[in-house]
Amino acid sequence: MALEFNAEYKKQVDWTLSRYPKKEAAMLPVLHLAQYQFGYISTEVMELVAKTLDVPVSRVQDVVTFYSMFREQPVGKYHIQVCHTLACAINGGAQVVKYLEEKCGVKANEGISADGKFSILRVECLGSCSTSPMMQVNDDYYENLTKARIDELVEKWKKE
């Protein structure tokens, strides 16, 4: 069955379209909205976005495969992205990944933990260099990470 935006997202899609002289320019914002509603960008989601913007599905796929934030697979409830570029790397970025792997029970870049809660990715610079090491979990930044802080966060997420 063809997918549709729900009422809340439909409103945001319409407002977004009104901000650009060409529909196609709303590609990234509409994809972001779609990813919020559906969790990831499946073929059906691409079809919905293509229909919304009046473009061929191949145009949407072209964009989805170029930008690292659009994912074609589901992720954990807590999708953890750890910066591994220089400013974070020299301040323990790799150790942060290792520690998170142990705590969350899933390896970086290897899917979702058995309980469905966690996925971990190593990513390039997130523009938070003066608060390294850092990670982004879903939409939020967690900065100046220490073992104690990660313990506290992961325990909280495990209970939720």
Partner: protein, 435 residues
């Protein structure tokens, strides 16, 4: 020193329009609307403002490139992609003082006579986008945006446009393509954006920090600007107090690293080893080269660049082979793939560095890297190719007929690279603990 760009940082509710107004906000905009656009462009030229996004291009001059006889609507694009590793300053402006940004965008839009402005913000800055959206709504409600701003007859719409995780969309023509809803593939220039930009229209792309400067020049005058030019510096790495600091442009790098008002020295009492002063694409400085003014000309003279003022400080626990490998991996990953030298060269450099780091390097790899870097720089559509080559082999050198000077990682730390190759292990033995 009096804070100007970061005046609102740390103030309660700094993002609220009433708090901004109470602290003297939105006083420059009405003055600007009483000037002529040409006067504003002239003001930017006279003040000598140079772009804060990386290239240091004179802003007034860029604005004057807009064709006078093109009937298409003009666009102002605020580059908030903040994607050059080491750079984290625009985030502070947007998240802590969004109205300063909006006031700057309104003045700049009027100066170039654009009625539509997009803030292209990196997709990961979700919080920044939310803060900006809220502030933009407040500004519309109070008549600082929208139709007939403050009774001047000037209309302006601002829209926040989130990117989606691609460094190359910070490059101005990659940004334009991305804003049009495509892959962020940089365009061949000319035509320049001022003539043929987004939607085929005349377009100006400037960095966030560049676009707030007219607020302060109008409020305080051109002479004040020349005497006090404020600049943001992003201090990261092995520091006691990393952070984004405001200082007069040209502050000595040593003061930024060691000064009480700034980063307060190297963490854990360790020794300084190297500094990348202007974002990851600029050549590295050795510890004994850090007595240098942090401005465009002095750093160029020192064989590096101010770039985006993303200053990464490395202590004696840092392996220079590993550090360069890390950076080159970044550029190889972020190459958009259009040009062979950048796409292939990046991956080859990454592999060569990887084999040196893991004990499989050959002595000839060092000259091979310098030569390859030289064959990448200047031979690509966009400057990502250069950004990949400069950390390896330095900036172009007039005395070498425009070839790269050689003065960066591979030459300055050649002993460490050779040690890796000969001994199949790292010369650095002091571990860096994380806790």
């Amino acid at each position: 020193m009096e804070k100007v760009l970061t005046k609102m940082v740390g103030i309660e509710n700094s993002r609220n329009i009433d708090v901004y107004l109470k602290s003297g906000g939105y006083q420059a905009l009405p003055k600007a609307l009483k000037m002529t656009p040409d006067q504003l462009v002239g003001m930017m030229k006279d003040a000598g403002v140079r772009g804060r996004g990386g290239a240091g291009f004179p802003t007034g001059m860029k604005w004057s490139f807009l064709p006078k006889d093109n009937p298409n609507p003009r666009y102002l694009l605020c580059n908030a992609d903040e994607s050059e590793p080491g750079t984290c300053k625009d985030r502070v402006l947007m998240e802590e003082d969004p109205h300063q940004v909006i006031e700057g965008l309104a003045i700049s839009s009027f100066a170039i006579q654009a009625h539509t402005c997009y803030i292209y913000i990196r997709g990961e800055y979700v919080n920044g986008a939310q803060v900006l959206n809220k502030a933009i709504q407040e500004a519309y409600d109070k008549g600082y945006l929208g139709k007939n701003i403050l009774g001047s007859g000037f209309d302006l719409d601002i829209t926040v446009h989130r990117g989606a995780g691609a460094y190359i969309c910070g490059e101005e023509t990659g940004l334009i393509e991305s804003l049009e809803g495509k892959r962020g593939w940089p365009r061949i220039k000319p035509p320049f954006p001022a003539v043929y930009g987004v939607f085929g229209s005349p377009t100006i792309v400037n960095n966030v920090e560049t676009l707030v400067t007219p607020v302060h020049i109008i409020n305080r005058g051109i002479q004040w600007w020349k005497d006090n030019e404020p600049k943001l510096y992003c201090m990261s790495g092995h520091l006691n107090r990393p952070g984004v600091f405001e200082a007069k442009i040209g502050i000595n790098l040593k003061d930024l690293i060691y000064g009480d008002d700034y980063s307060q020295g190297i963490a854990k009492g360790r020794k300084l080893k190297a500094v990348i002063p202007g974002g990851s694409s600029v050549p590295v400085l050795k510890a004994d080269e850090c007595d240098v003014a942090m401005d465009f000309d002095a750093l160029a003279k020192a064989g590096s660049a101010l770039g985006s003022a993303g200053c990464m400080v490395m202590d004696e626990t840092t392996c220079m082979v590993n550090a360069l490998w890390n950076l080159i991996k970044f550029y190889a990953h972020e190459s958009c793939g259009q040009c062979t030298p950048c796409r292939e060269g990046g991956h080859w450099m990454e592999m060569v560095l990887g084999r040196i780091e893991t004990g499989r390097g050959r002595m000839e790899d060092l000259d091979l890297m310098l030569e390859t870097a030289n064959n990448i720089a200047g031979r690509t559509i966009c400057p990502l190719g250069d950004a990949l080559a400069w950390p390896i082999a330095g900036m172009p050198d007039k005395n070498k007929g425009g070839d790269l000077s050689g003065n960066s990682f591979v030459t300055k730390f050649r002993d460490e690279f050779e040690y890796h190759i000969t001994n199949k292990k790292c010369k650095v033995t002091i571990p860096h603990e994380w806790n």
